[in-house]
């Protein structure tokens, strides 16, 4: 390859000619100067820049494994459970694809949470990145929706009753609640109609929404570059940075590979369960619980008394989480320094730690809760 006349270099010449032919027509090389110019700040909090990329990689992996699952899945109350049973027992590597999809969903939402908390603590949502933040929170909500709808699809006992509980929750909202519940369920009860509905949401509506949000989110990140945390800005001194291409991208790749390795290990050692087929006429088994990212909310509702100041307890809980969700969307507008030179306040940092502590505590309580005690 060094003498420049061998077959290798001739092949390269042909590839080069094809590349320039292609480039004359689509002009992709215009991206290269942008990629070359792009720099990523280097400081002691740089580690957190990689988490969002891992969430993005996991999202793409969910699309790929999700498409593969569609090859065998049958969305009906009669056939769903059996089709997954077939997939797990008969299809070669069916257990692997489903386990990666199931673990990947959990890891993606975990990474989305870590990414969000790191962005909150580093105040990366400050102007001009408000819309990046809003699309990010939107993505977290859509991901949780994907998790909730996907949970039902195997049509097993656990998911059936978890969906009954989950869709009953909006039912407590006055006036429109029962209507929302029935629209979600496709009827008064969780049935085959709910399954087809959740299937439609899970494989088309929510992924399309997520895809648009991801595109906007990533585009805005490219546009504004990485945010430098205020604490680093305040220190002053010379700013260090690294090239995005290829230095940062290669490090990103390490994160992606690490995520993939974690998933492969989890899928191999703890393959996804299927459980018992849902039977709408059987009593709910003990130990019905939602996915872990809903646990803190589920546990909160358990502790609420039947009535709080004359209002139904559950309604207070659901209303409170609704308010928190809306506040979360508008954090960049609520956390504003008072003057042009004012230091950013500590209030939101403490609120973030408070929320984190709340989620951890109530999840812990949820998993150790003894319904018989």
């Amino acid at each position: 390859m060094t003498d420049g006349t061998g077959p290798g270099s001739r092949a390269r010449g042909a590839i080069g000619r094809f590349a320039s032919w292609l480039d004359d027509r689509i002009g992709l090389s215009a991206i290269m100067p942008v990629l070359r110019k792009k720099e990523v700040p280097v400081h002691r909090h740089s580690f957190w820049y990689y988490i969002g990329g891992m969430a993005l990689f996991l999202f793409l992996l969910q699309i790929a494994t999700g498409i593969l699952l569609l090859f065998y899945y049958r969305p009906s109350a009669e056939g769903a459970y059996e089709s997954i049973q077939f997939l797990m027992a008969e299809v070669e590597f069916g257990w692997l694809i489903r386990s990666i999809h199931s673990w990947g969903a959990n890891l993606m939402i975990f990474m989305a949470f870590v990414h969000m908390f790191s962005v909150m603590l580093l105040k990366a949502y400050r102007a001009p990145r408000e819309i990046t933040w809003i699309t990010g929170v939107g993505l977290l909500f859509v991901s949780m929706g994907l998790g909730f709808t996907g949970y039902l699809l195997p049509w097993n006992e656990l998911s059936f009753f978890a969906t009954r509980v989950g869709t009953e929750i909006p039912g407590v909202v006055p006036v429109v609640g029962p209507f929302i519940r029935d629209v979600l369920r496709g009827g008064e009860d969780v049935s085959g109609a709910t399954l087809t509905r959740f299937y439609a949401l899970h494989v088309s509506v929510l992924p399309a929404l997520a895809f648009m949000l991801v595109a906007l989110h990533v585009l805005l990140v490219q546009r504004h570059g990485m945010s430098v945390p205020p604490s680093i800005e305040a220190e002053g001194g010379p700013r260090r940075s690294m090239k995005f291409f290829p230095q940062f991208l290669l490090r990103d790749l390490v994160g992606w590979l690490a995520a993939l390795a974690m998933l492969a290990a989890a899928a191999a050692f703890f393959p996804a369960h299927l459980g018992e087929k849902a039977d709408p006429f059987a009593p709910a088994p003990a130990g019905i619980q939602p996915e872990w990212y809903f646990m803190f909310m589920f546990q909160t509702l358990r502790y609420l008394p039947a009535e709080i100041m004359g209002i139904e307890g559950e309604l207070v809980g659901v209303g409170a989480f609704g308010v928190v969700g809306i506040v979360l969307l508008f954090v960049p507008f609520l956390d504003k320094p008072k003057g042009p030179d004012a230091k950013p306040g500590k209030l939101w940092t403490w609120l973030t730690f408070g929320a984190l502590a709340y989620i951890l505590l109530f999840s812990y309580l949820g998993y150790t809760f003894d319904p018989n005690a």
Binding site: M1, D3, G6, P7, G8, L68, F71, E90, V91, E92, F93, G94, L96, I97
Partner: protein
């Protein structure tokens, strides 16, 4: 890279790293795409080995010079009462391109509408594109019920 060059060239650090990266990348891609390829290939489902079915309709429901489709496991079969009054059964899958055949009362034989294939009442392909005769089943009448079974 001329013949014999590569074996005599000293292994530089760059060549070693290139080799290592290339092999790892190849191994990685194989580890991802091998399961995916195997996954996409559908597993062999043991054919619900139906050797015999009792039809859902009685012998009296089939007049002479008449044919009816029945389910033989997962596949369609056709039951024919010949103008002479004899019951015969065949696989209803045309041997040409897998369409389902029907009985033509006007011709008194079996016909495939897709590409105009004709079979006589012994299942033999007599006209049109079908390359082989229809699979013939055994028919037994037991107390008005029809039992169709694979001819052994």
């Amino acid at each position: 890279m001329k013949d014999g060059d590569s074996s005599t060239k000293p292994v530089t650090r760059k060549r070693f790293v290139d080799w290592l990266l290339g092999t790892s990348a190849g191994g990685f891609l194989a580890a991802v795409f091998y399961p995916v390829a195997r996954y996409i290939v559908p597993p062999e489902v043991p054919e619900a080995s139906v050797n015999s079915v009792t039809l859902a309709f009685a012998a009296d429901d089939v007049p002479s010079n008449f044919g009816r489709i029945f389910k033989f496991g997962t596949r369609p079969g056709i039951l024919v009462r010949t103008p002479g009054g004899e019951l015969r059964a065949f696989s209803a899958r045309c041997t040409h391109l897998d369409c389902t055949v029907q009985y033509r009362e006007d011709l008194s034989h079996i016909w495939c509408a897709c590409h105009n294939g004709h079979f006589d009442l012994n299942g033999r392909n007599i006209a049109g594109p079908p390359p082989e005769p229809l699979q013939v089943f055994d028919v037994n009448e037991r107390g008005g019920q029809i039992v169709v079974s694979v001819r052994s």
